[in-house]
């Protein structure tokens, strides 16, 4: 009998969801391809970068900055979902918090990988202890801590509760971390001078086309994030339902 419930619910969501899901996904793919075209071909070279390597590497900017934006957005979103979960205690909010962290972690890993590739030709080092780099690393480590915490708890209800608590606490630590690291670096002006070569402001001339491409990429990445969230949350809820049904069958 339970298997019948499983299969009927499965087909129901498929039939209802397929049109919206497919349209949304294809739309996101189209937007991302456009972003790729704009970033790699349409956007002009940054004028004051001299060597070709520097100019090619600068194009990482169009995906590096939006990915970092999505990373922070995902973190903020997961903290919000966690607060709602602790108040309402509904599975879906926990699934959303978890999904947001997982998607955010993917984007942040992209930031952490693309950053050094861009930094090497521009700053001639893979890594500097610039505030932005440091705070991104801390966020990345907090994300990983969140995933590890979830992995180490057996009871699903407790897992959701503890994860929510951790997400809320760590979201409060981000602004304080940011402030402290900023102040830590202003005491060493030499390193700040190297750090201000960062592309997001003042590093190279931002012509209107460069700026427009960046804005488009930020919007594209945000849509991409929402789309990934949509699929990941659906998958997570389905996984939990299968888990419940499996228990039903086993212990009947």
């Amino acid at each position: 009998m339970t298997t019948k419930i499983l299969s009927s619910q499965q087909t129901k969501t498929e039939v209802n969801g397929i049109s919206f899901s497919a349209v949304f996904t294809i739309f996101t793919g189209f937007i991302m391809l456009t972003a790729l075209y704009l970033a790699l071909i349409w956007a002009p070279d940054a004028v004051n970068l001299l060597t070709p390597t520097e100019r090619y590497a600068q194009r990482i900017f169009y995906f590096h900055v939006p990915a970092a934006w999505v990373g922070f957005l995902a973190f903020l979103a997961s903290a919000l979902f966690s607060v709602i979960y602790l108040i309402k205690r509904q599975q879906k909010w926990d699934a959303m918090a978890l999904s947001s962290v997982e998607v955010g972690l993917a984007f942040f890993t992209m930031v952490m990988l693309s950053g050094p590739i861009w930094a090497k030709p521009t700053w001639n080092v893979w890594w500097t202890w610039d505030p932005r780099l440091t705070i991104s690393t801390i966020c990345w480590l907090l994300y990983i801590g969140y995933i590890m915490l979830r992995g180490a708890i057996d009871n699903p209800e407790r897992e959701a509760r503890f994860a929510a608590v951790f997400a809320i606490v760590s979201s409060f630590s981000i602004p304080l971390n940011w402030l402290a690291i900023r102040w830590w670096r202003t005491i060493h002006p030499a390193i700040v001078a190297a750090g201000s070569n960062d592309g997001s402001e003042g590093g190279f001339g931002m012509s209107p086309d460069i700026r427009n491409t960046l804005i488009f990429c930020v919007v594209a990445f945000t849509i991409f994030y929402i789309n990934l969230m949509y699929h990941r949350v659906k998958l997570e809820l389905m996984k939990r339902r299968v888990e419940l049904l499996k228990q039903d069958i086993l212990y009947q």
């Binding site: 602790l86 801390i138 480590l141 907090l142 990983i144 801590g145 590890m148 915490l149 180490a152 708890i153 057996d154 407790r158 509760r161 503890f162 929510a164 608590v165 951790f166 809320i168 606490v169 760590s170 409060f172 630590s173 304080l176 971390n177 402030l179 402290a180 690291i181 102040w183 830590w184 005491i187």
Partner: protein, 229 residues
């Protein structure tokens, strides 16, 4: 109102008293933390080859790594008895507010870690050849730092004890969160050792105090979600 407050504080200190009595009888946590922090100081001495020339820049970091690592050791044990011997169930059954348990455990942790730090401090001053006139101000900074460390550490310790990996998970959760605290404490320690004017460093003191207040408030609000069963 003040009657209620007095009763509340008495309940908190009943829990603190329980922890202190356990510690006085076993001497498990404080002695291990003390020896561990001394070992850290000596290991740093070998790894950095500390000499008169570089000791001023490295000493604050050595002191704070010793304190935070030893604190981590103590915090990871903080809820083990509660969990293994069923003390937590007893505390939860007692007719007290959940926040009482949090504050009781937190104050216990502050006492233990501060005790270790205050004993380690003179040793640190001697082996790194620092003037003893700095001790009162460094002691103040240490207490402020330990309050923040225990404030959020107690919450995470109550969580970590329910996980499979226990001691392993606590530092992974705690260190990224307390980075502002460590940074501020190290800056203030360096300022004291360099004899800088305190007014120049007051913004670090603000961060330290803000960290303590914010994280104790958050942990106080979230603790009941951690211990509910």
């Amino acid at each position: 109102m003040s009657q209620n407050l007095r009763r509340y504080i008495r309940k908190i200190f009943a829990i603190v008293g329980k922890d202190v009595a356990t510690e006085i009888r076993t001497k498990e946590m404080v002695s291990a933390m003390f020896v561990f922090s001394l070992l850290i100081i000596f290991i740093f001495n070998f790894t950095f080859d500390l000499r008169a020339g570089n000791v001023q820049t490295l000493a604050p970091g050595v002191l704070w790594v010793a304190i935070t690592f030893a604190g981590m050791l103590g915090l990871s044990r903080s809820f083990v008895l509660e969990h293994d011997k069923g003390v937590l169930e007893g505390l939860l059954l007692a007719p007290v507010d959940r926040s009482t348990i949090y504050f009781g455990k937190m104050i216990g942790n502050i006492i233990f870690i501060s005790m270790v730090a205050i004993v380690v401090l003179p040793v640190f001053m001697i082996v790194f050849n620092q003037p003893f006139t700095h001790v009162p101000r460094l002691g103040g900074i240490i207490v402020l730092g330990v309050i923040g460390l225990s404030g959020v550490g107690t919450l995470f310790s109550a969580m970590a004890v329910h996980t499979r990996a226990r001691e392993v998970l606590l530092p992974i959760m705690l260190f990224p969160v307390i980075i502002p605290l460590i940074l501020a404490a190290i800056r203030l320690t360096a300022a004291v050792l360099d004899g800088m004017l305190f007014a120049d460093m007051s913004h670090w003191l603000t961060i330290l105090v803000a960290f303590d207040v914010i994280f104790i408030a958050i942990s106080y609000m979230l603790f009941e979600y951690v211990v509910e069963e």
